[in-house]
C-alpha cells in the first residue's frame, strides 16, 4: 500500500493503521466529543546517528515557528494567523483552522542542539536532528 517506505515490521504497520483510523474517526465524530488532535501531525525517520522529522504547516512562515530542544525533548510551537479578510467579507465555508499550537515529543536520543537543521518548503517543515556525540554508542574492540 505504501511502496515508498521500506517494509516496516508488521507491528509497526498495525500501530500506524490504528493511529490513522483514530484520526479518521475523529474527523467524523460530533465536534463536542472530539479529542483535540495533536497538531501538527509528525512523521519521523531515524537511523543510528540522527532523526528526521517532518510536519505539514501550511500558511506558516519560518518566523512563525518556534523550535526548542532540551536534550532529547523537542518542542514545536507556533501560531497560525486567521485569514485577514477585507471589510464586508462573509464566509461561505471555513474548514481551515487557525490558532496557537504546541507539541512536544521525546526523541530516541540526546540531540546536538547546535547542529539541528530546519528547512521550510511549500508549507512542509523538515528538521534534521543529529545525535549528540556523547550519546553515540561506543564501539569496544576486543584486544587480543
Amino acid at each position: 500500500m505504501f511502496p515508498r517506505f521500506s517494509t516496516p515490521s508488521i507491528w509497526r504497520e498495525m500501530d500506524r493503521m490504528q493511529r490513522e483510523m483514530n484520526r479518521l474517526f475523529n474527523d467524523y465524530t460530533p465536534f463536542r466529543y472530539r479529542t483535540a488532535p495533536s497538531y501538527p501531525a509528525l512523521n519521523l525517520w531515524a537511523d543510528e546517528e540522527s532523526v528526521v522529522l517532518r510536519a505539514e504547516l501550511p500558511g506558516l512562515k519560518p518566523n512563525d515557528i518556534d523550535i526548542s530542544i532540551d536534550d532529547g525533548d523537542l518542542t514545536l510551537s507556533g501560531h497560525r494567523m486567521r485569514e485577514e479578510l477585507p471589510e464586508n467579507a462573509t464566509y461561505h465555508r471555513q474548514e481551515r483552522n487557525y490558532g496557537s499550537f504546541t507539541r512536544s515529543i521525546r526523541l530516541p536520543f540526546k540531540i546536538e542542539a547546535d547542529e539541528v537543521e530546519a528547512t521550510m518548503k511549500n508549507g512542509v517543515l523538515t528538521l534534521t536532528l543529529p545525535r549528540a556525540e556523547e550519546d553515540k554508542p561506543k564501539k569496544i574492540t576486543i584486544k587480543t
Binding site: 517506505f5 493511529r19 531515524a46 517532518r54 462573509t90
Partner: protein, 136 residues
C-alpha cells in the same frame, strides 16, 4: 434578497461525475481543506495544499466545474527507516461548481507556503448595486 441566495450557490461539489480516465498514480489523494469567502468584488478560495510544488498545480475550468489538482513530490529521506508516521502524503484534488456570476476570464491564482489562493472576480451583472431613490 434573491441576489443574495443566488450568490451563495458557489458551493462545492464533492465529486464530479467521472468523464475522464481513471487516476493512475500510486498515491493517496486528499481533499484539501478549503475556505470560501465573498467580498463585494470577488469570491476567494483558499486551499491548504502542503508539500506541493507550485509548478505541479493544475487548475482547470471546464464548463462550470473548477478542478484543482496538486501533485506532491515529497520523498522520504534516504537511508533512514520510518520511526513514526502520523500523516500520509498524497496528491490533492477538489472540484467546485461555479455559478454564471463569475468572470471566468479573470480568475487568478497564487501559491505560497503550501496555501493556494484563488480570486474569482464577480461578473459585472452580479455585483451589488446601490440604488438611490430619486425624489421628484
Amino acid at each position: 434578497m434573491t441576489e443574495e441566495t443566488k450568490a451563495m450557490e458557489v458551493q462545492e461539489q464533492e465529486r464530479v461525475p467521472e468523464e475522464r480516465t481513471e487516476r493512475m498514480r500510486d498515491k493517496a489523494c486528499y481533499l484539501p481543506q478549503s475556505d470560501i469567502y465573498e467580498t463585494e468584488e470577488n469570491y476567494h478560495l483558499v486551499l491548504d495544499m502542503p508539500g506541493v510544488d507550485e509548478k505541479s498545480i493544475d487548475i482547470t475550468l471546464e464548463k462550470n466545474i473548477l478542478t484543482i489538482n496538486g501533485f506532491t513530490d515529497v520523498d522520504a529521506p534516504k537511508g533512514y527507516s520510518l520511526a513514526r508516521a502520523e500523516y500520509n502524503i498524497g496528491d490533492y484534488e477538489r472540484s467546485f461548481r461555479l455559478t454564471d456570476q463569475i468572470d471566468r476570464e479573470n480568475i487568478e491564482a497564487s501559491y505560497e507556503d503550501g496555501v493556494l489562493r484563488l480570486t474569482l472576480p464577480k461578473a459585472e451583472e452580479a455585483k451589488a448595486r446601490k440604488i438611490t431613490v430619486k425624489t421628484t
